[in-house]
């Protein structure tokens, strides 16, 4: 799951139902340049196909485009449906 030597390391975080389904809440992942949140979603086996419409992506604690390549040091989070308030 990690690609040695690329130097591109990101932190991946899962919350709530996604965290429980995956069985982990945070992982440091080394990955190929150009990898997107969508790519990582498949790579990590979080789901079969694309990120479901109900799951949102945050990069560095702000909502982000799942097709935007990640940068070294990014914190990527997959967020299941929000239910606050």
């Amino acid at each position: 799951m990690s690609v040695a030597g690329t130097g591109l390391t990101v932190q991946v975080r899962l919350f709530a139902s996604l965290r429980e389904r995956a069985g982990w809440d945070a992982r440091r992942i080394e990955l190929a340049a150009g990898t997107t949140p969508e790519g990582l979603w498949r790579q990590l086996g979080l789901g079969d196909g694309a990120i479901p419409a109900t799951v949102r992506v945050a990069v560095n604690q702000a909502f982000a485009d799942p097709h935007q390549p990640l940068a070294p040091g990014d914190e990527l989070a997959f967020l299941p449906p929000i239910s606050g308030g």
Partner: protein, 166 residues
């Protein structure tokens, strides 16, 4: 009142039960030493606002499935949640030209009847105060990373989505 100045914002997450009226009075936990005579607005250096709208949401006694709710667990994304609340409050305050916004939200395990959320808005006119409060409440329900898990009959169920506005 200062419609032109940027709004004063307070965002608070509470891991323990909080008393919304104490926060409004400026006597809540972390609200400083003793009651501020001007309440939360006075604590921000604002004169008594002509219009103030509040909303308080509390934990229900029943789960979505109809069973007795034992507890509501509130997960959040430390860092992002506070940031998003700040961004949402700022945008809503600017859109309506209000003077101050206070948002308090519970995290962790909450019991029925306990306060979940408080949104308070101070403004020079009643319309902006009410509209900003209502919109910010909807915004934070959909745009601030919180996740609810209902505990009923010893089983925890993640809530996917919000109760209808009704």
């Amino acid at each position: 009142m200062a419609d032109a100045r940027p709004a004063l914002l307070v965002v608070r997450l509470h891991a323990e039960p909080f008393d919304p009226l104490a926060l409004l009075a400026g006597t809540g936990p972390g609200g400083g030493s003793g009651a501020h005579p001007g309440g939360w607005c006075g604590g921000l250096g604002l004169d008594s606002p002509a219009a103030e709208a509040h909303f308080i949401g509390r934990v229900r006694g029943t789960a979505a499935g109809g069973g007795v709710l034992e507890a509501l667990e509130l997960e959040h994304y430390p860092g992002m949640t506070e940031r998003q609340l700040q961004v949402l409050a700022q945008a809503c305050a600017a859109r309506h030209g209000v003077a101050a916004v206070l948002v308090a939200h519970r995290v962790g395990r909450a019991l029925p009847g306990e306060a979940l959320v408080l949104v308070a808005v101070a403004a020079d006119r009643r319309g902006p105060a009410q509209r900003c409060g209502g919109e910010l409440l909807e915004a934070l329900k959909h745009e601030a990373p919180f996740w609810k898990r209902e505990w009923s009959g010893g089983v925890g169920t993640w809530v996917e989505g919000n109760t209808p506005l009704g």
